[in-house]
């Protein structure tokens, strides 16, 4: 009935404003958030002491038995691509298949991807289990799928080996991760700064759902140390990094510590802004695992050498040790397009764990025998992790609960602290230590 008439020009401008806001929301929605470990493109120059033929029992002999079908599910969307992880698991299986296989059986590995759509994540899991009929799930790494699918996996009798992101990847009976995820990694970074005698801890994170869950750990650890704690959130992508860095430093105060839990590009914005404002020495800086990339170390330059302490869930990619050397060899031969870094390290370890577990299966490879074999994994030792990895029957799984600290030096990350246990002030860590104490064989004791 009523029509408001405004001048044509103002109406045009109003429409354009509406379009602009709509565009902004669209572009913002396109921005990915990656809270897992980052890739790492360093060209390492380390003497390799193993060959890619060391991943199977019969060197150079292709496996010809009935294939063992396994699967993995990963997030892959613009700006957030975790598919490198199962692709590296697949690379390891290719190496196994070329060198005798698992008791003569090759692994037929299927990778599915999802775009952080719960419906799609659920249907991809069903596709793997019901259509592809995979016998086991290994190599998965998705932002949401652990939360969406863990009950379905439980109903179906699957014990998943994953590189987790969602809280359920660390809090359920049927998912065990090779990494420790953003909460416990932030715990580790907080512990490091407390050891470096900071007067206060400020945790800065993305303003996205789930950050309250992450904040609980560092807050408990800081308060247990008798220090004040403050949690800050920044909308991502960060549009005014200078102000964000200033806010964090002012909140921490002189002699305080700032722990960042961001993707590498967002963390870099804050660190670079801090440097340009002369703030890098006002506080001590820590970061959760995503900062552990040589890409970030290179982008930061020498000004941050020894001034940023990053929690590292895995060994340095340059480590000269049997599994680290094999990892680089397998990647070079079977997946040269995948960058060296924590993502591919995780994929490699999962392939190794699954292969070793399945070697012990007596009789046919069935869904039951494969998942029982995964559940039975205990005291799995690798130089890529600080402690033995295990699965076992338990209400929750956090087998990776001992970490290192790395720091930038000359454009790469180098070790600053050797392996240390994540604090059991965090209740989940305490519960896991209790499980290890109850069954010491899980960790080889």
């Amino acid at each position: 009935m009523s029509i408001k008439l405004v001048s044509g020009r103002l109406r045009q401008i109003t429409w354009l404003a509406v379009l602009a806001i709509g565009s902004a929301l669209f572009v913002a929605a396109c921005g990915g958030d990656d809270d897992s470990g980052g890739g790492n493109n360093a060209n390492v120059d380390v003497k390799e002491t193993v060959a890619a033929t060391d991943c199977g029992p019969k060197k150079g002999q292709k496996a010809t038995g009935t294939p063992i079908k396994l699967g993995g599910l990963a997030t892959k969307q613009p700006g957030t691509d975790f598919s490198e992880i199962p692709r590296m698991t697949e690379a390891y299986f290719k190496c196994v298949n070329d060198n005798g296989g698992i008791n003569g059986h090759p692994v037929d590995y299927v990778i599915e991807t999802e775009q952080t759509d719960p419906g799609q994540a659920a249907s991809q899991a069903r596709k793997l289990i019901e259509s592809e009929k995979v016998l086991g799930l290994v190599g998965s790494s998705s932002i949401i799928e652990a939360d969406v699918n863990h009950k379905y996996y439980e109903q179906q009798g699957y014990n998943v080996i994953a590189a987790g992101i969602a809280p359920s990847a660390y809090a359920t009976s049927n998912i065990a991760s090779v990494n420790m995820g953003p909460r416990y990694s932030s715990d580790g970074a907080t512990q490091t700064l407390i050891r470096k005698k900071v007067k206060k801890i400020v945790l800065v994170q993305s303003n996205v759902p789930g950050t309250e869950y992450i904040q609980e750990g560092p807050e408990l650890i800081t308060k247990d140390a008798g220090l004040p704690f403050e949690g800050l959130k920044e909308n991502v992508p960060i549009q005014d990094a200078n102000s964000a860095a200033l806010k964090a430093v002012q909140a921490a105060g002189d002699g305080g510590g700032v722990v960042l839990n961001f993707t590498p590009p967002e963390a870099l914005k804050i660190l670079q802004a801090a440097q340009q404002q002369g703030l890098q020495d006002r506080v001590k800086w820590g970061c959760s695992t995503p900062c552990n990339t040589d890409f970030l170390a290179k982008a930061l330059g020498d000004a941050w050498d020894g001034k940023l302490f990053v929690n590292a869930e895995l060994n340095l990619i340059t480590a000269d040790a049997p599994d680290s050397n094999l990892y680089r060899e397998v990647r070079k031969k079977y997946a040269p397009d995948i960058p060296l870094g924590s993502f591919s390290q995780m994929g490699f370890i999962m392939g190794r764990i699954a292969t070793e577990a399945l070697q012990d299966v007596k009789g046919d490879y069935t869904k039951e025998s494969v998942n029982q074999a995964f559940l039975d994994v205990k005291d799995f030792k690798t130089d890529i992790l600080c402690g033995p990895w295990y699965y076992g029957k338990a209400p929750l799984h956090l087998p990776n609960n001992i970490d290192r600290t790395v720091t930038p030096k000359g454009g790469t990350m180098v070790q600053n602290e050797d392996c240390f246990p994540i604090s059991d002030v965090d209740p989940a860590v305490k519960q896991v230590r209790g499980i290890e104490q109850k069954d010491p064989s899980l960790i080889g004791k």
């Binding site: 029509i3 401008i13 921005g31 957030t80 870099l268 914005k269 340009q276």
Partner: protein
């Protein structure tokens, strides 16, 4: 509430960002006045120029300054090419259609950047960021000074150009009435091409400065055009002086809200809130008539 001492550094960061918003806003307004196109690809063009410069410096071994030149040139060339290709067929379409078409360019560039450069961490530190001085207790670097100064200088130079040069007069004439201007013998296509190229060069400069002041990230830089757009809309896509002031106000208000923790999370709304308040204020005396057709 933070103390005045705590607020001071935020004024510096706000002025620097506000200057670049103003610079970008001027580029948007000049193009809109000459062609009727609100270029939503402004940020994406600058972002891609900055990433190309980063690639040339870090992977092709170029010196910094020629790479910066390529960044600015890329902005000019891509924007001009878009204008030459899509300007004429869209010339008589509604401004909303023209703006939406430029959004298409923004999304193509954004997709291309995601494809080529993925989401790894990169940084662009201009040499001016390594030089700084103290104002009171606040460290100010010369990139921040440049950000603010460029905004002011570009506004003054552009205003003088539009006022005192033949090409500028032709652009103003086009803004008033394209048909009459063409009838009078003004080479419309050439004048529009100059506006596209000039606006594109400013996109390149803004991309370069913002890649240092904010971060070298395709999504962020593409997204930042919104703050400049708010400044241009506050100026009703007309006044360069108001665009300058609005850009600086957006930058400073945004930065000043940061240390106020209770509202800090909502500070990204600043450009929208200011633009809406300004548009409501500007329309307060407009005649409203209500009609009902039989």
């Amino acid at each position: 509430m933070p103390s005045w001492d705590e607020f001071q550094p935020f004024i510096v960061t706000g002025l620097a960002l506000g200057g670049v918003y103003a610079l970008s806003g001027v580029g948007l307004v000049v193009l809109y006045r000459a062609t009727g196109v609100l270029n939503l690809a402004f940020g994406a063009v600058g972002a891609m120029g900055a990433l190309i410069a980063w690639e040339l410096i870090n992977n092709a071994g170029w010196d910094e300054y020629p790479a910066y030149g390529i960044c600015i040139l890329f902005g000019g060339v891509v924007t001009l090419a878009y204008g030459l290709l899509f300007g004429p067929p869209l010339a008589n379409r509604d401004p909303l259609v023209k703006a939406t078409a430029s959004l298409g360019l923004a999304l193509i560039l954004l997709g291309t950047m995601s494809w080529i450069w993925s989401d790894k961490a990169r940084s662009m530190v201009l040499p001016t960021s390594n030089e700084n001085f103290m104002v009171s207790d606040v460290l100010v670097n010369y990139t921040q000074v440049l950000g603010f100064a460029f905004g002011v200088v570009v506004m003054i130079v552009t205003a003088a150009f539009l006022r005192y040069t033949g090409l500028g007069t032709a652009m103003r004439a086009l803004a008033n009435d394209r048909e009459i201007t063409a009838t009078l013998g003004v080479p419309v296509r050439r004048v529009e091409a100059a506006a596209w190229a000039g606006s594109g060069l400013l996109a390149g400069v803004a991309g370069l400065l913002l890649s240092n002041l904010v971060g070298l990230d395709a999504t962020t830089l593409t997204f930042l055009v919104i703050s400049s757009l708010a400044a241009a809309l506050i100026a009703r896509l007309q006044s360069l002086v108001v665009t300058l002031i609005a850009g600086i106000v957006v930058g400073v208000v945004n930065a000043m809200i940061t240390p106020i923790l209770s509202i800090s999370e909502y500070r990204d709304m600043t450009p929208f809130v200011l633009a809406i308040v300004a548009l409501l204020w500007l329309s307060r005396h407009r005649e409203i008539s209500i009609s009902r057709s039989a």
